[in-house]
């Protein structure tokens, strides 16, 4: 059973009229504002956690891990609920997921490693 057909994943409907959609657009849009406000609350909470984590002054690796982890959690909240991937057909999620591989390469393989870069660092940058 796909995510789109699983009744546990259907957005709750609390007495709101159904919007007019074409037959192929069958997701149910969330019908209440409280859910979105709760998501906003979670985003604020995780932002506070981020700031508190930075004030602890962990090592570079630990800080990167914490910041990336919290960032991914916040992105999940925004993408799933505000961008309503949670209720859209799987094609939308799969399309949005396409650059993940390339972003992993950019951030981790290139961004957080520096093969050979430190040899000429001072002459290149003047630092």
């Amino acid at each position: 059973m796909s995510d789109d057909e699983n009744p546990d994943n259907a957005a709750p409907e609390e007495g709101v009229e159904e919007e007019a959609h074409d037959d192929h657009d069958e997701h149910t849009f969330p019908s209440y504002a409280n859910g979105f406000i709760a998501v906003f609350g979670w985003l604020v909470f995780f932002t506070i956690i981020e700031v508190m984590a930075i004030l602890q002054e962990f090592s570079f690796s630990a800080t990167m891990f914490i910041l990336f982890s919290i960032a991914f959690v916040k992105v999940w909240f925004i993408a799933s609920f505000f961008m309503h991937l949670r209720w859209d057909p799987p094609l939308a999620t799969r399309t949005a997921a396409v650059p993940i591989f390339f972003l992993i390469v950019l951030f981790i393989a290139i961004g957080l490693t520096s093969p050979g870069a430190t040899d000429d660092w001072h002459s290149v940058t003047g630092l």
Partner: protein, 287 residues
């Protein structure tokens, strides 16, 4: 949809006009700042053509009901579950992900290589971190108001739609104003010597290279910071300009339970701008 309606939707010249204008802008600007000042004329002509194409686009879309839920013309059923416009919007967002992925990974690459030599903008910002936190909350709140605007349109409440879009607009303006103030403070501050205006946690001035301010040409830290945050700010500015159009159209009841795809698709762009800030804020402002 009839052939006549198809012709109406696909017979517009605004995309090609805008593309030609953009080409003129890029070509003119690149050559003008690299020793060919006569190309400023090409830049200005390109700008005029781009604005013309944009006005053509607005004038075509403003009075008409949009091509809501138009099916993707394909024989494969898997691609028929999303509307053409929505899939196109997501593909556009993929390209934007690569833009910001490149900028942020460049910053991380330099920072990882520099190690202890890197004096981050966060050291300067830390004494005024409240502004960065306000900006973060403003963008998160604007994402909420944007989705509530869409929800209000689906309930045929055009007044609430207009108000929520207005709140989103104001929060975007707040973000840009605070960012501009931060930039002004960092560019004109003194972070070393007797007149240093900002000190770190240990009550020391920041670094000698920032004695006369922290700007895009001060250091590698400066260029990566301002290019990344500036590109993000430019995206917010474009979103704010688009919001002005959406507010005007929403106020006249242009978005309702039947026609609201434009709000949803703009919302995807606006939430994406928020997603980018979710990465920019901790990596450039906090650490």
């Amino acid at each position: 949809m009839s052939d006549a309606e198809h012709a109406e939707h696909h017979g517009t010249a605004s995309p090609i006009v805008s593309a030609v204008g953009l080409m003129g802008i890029m070509l003119g600007l690149t050559l003008a700042v690299n020793g060919y000042p006569s190309f400023w004329f090409v830049f200005l002509v390109g700008l005029f053509v781009l604005v013309t194409g944009f006005i053509m686009w607005l004038s075509e879309y403003y009075p008409m009901t949009s091509e809501e839920n138009e099916e993707i013309e394909t024989y494969h059923p898997a691609f028929a579950t999303l509307s053409t416009r929505k899939l196109g919007t997501w593909i556009f967002l993929l390209t934007e992900m690569m833009v910001f992925g490149t900028l942020l990974s460049t910053y991380l690459r330099y920072r990882a290589a520099a190690g202890a030599d890197w004096v981050p903008a966060a050291d300067i910002i830390r004494s005024h971190l409240v502004f960065g936190v306000i900006n973060t909350m403003a963008l998160l709140l604007s994402s909420l108001t944007m989705v509530l605007a869409l929800y209000a349109a689906k309930r045929n409440d055009h007044k609430a739609t207009t108000r929520f879009l207005g709140c989103t607009f104001l929060l975007g303006i707040l973000f840009l104003v605070i960012k501009g103030f931060e930039w002004w403070e960092m560019k004109n501050g003194h972070f070393w010597g007797e007149n240093c205006t900002v000190k770190d946690i240990a009550n020391h001035c920041i670094d000698p290279k920032y004695e006369h301010g922290f700007w895009i040409n001060t250091s590698l830290e400066g260029s990566t910071f301002y290019v990344t945050t500036g590109t993000h700010g430019a995206h917010v500015l474009v979103g704010v300009i688009a919001l002005a159009y959406l507010i005007i159209k929403a106020n006249r009841g242009g978005y309702n339970s039947e026609y609201h795809d434009t709000l949803e698709l703009f919302g995807l762009y606006w939430h994406y701008v928020d997603v980018v800030w979710v990465f920019v804020f901790p990596f450039l402002y906090l650490f």
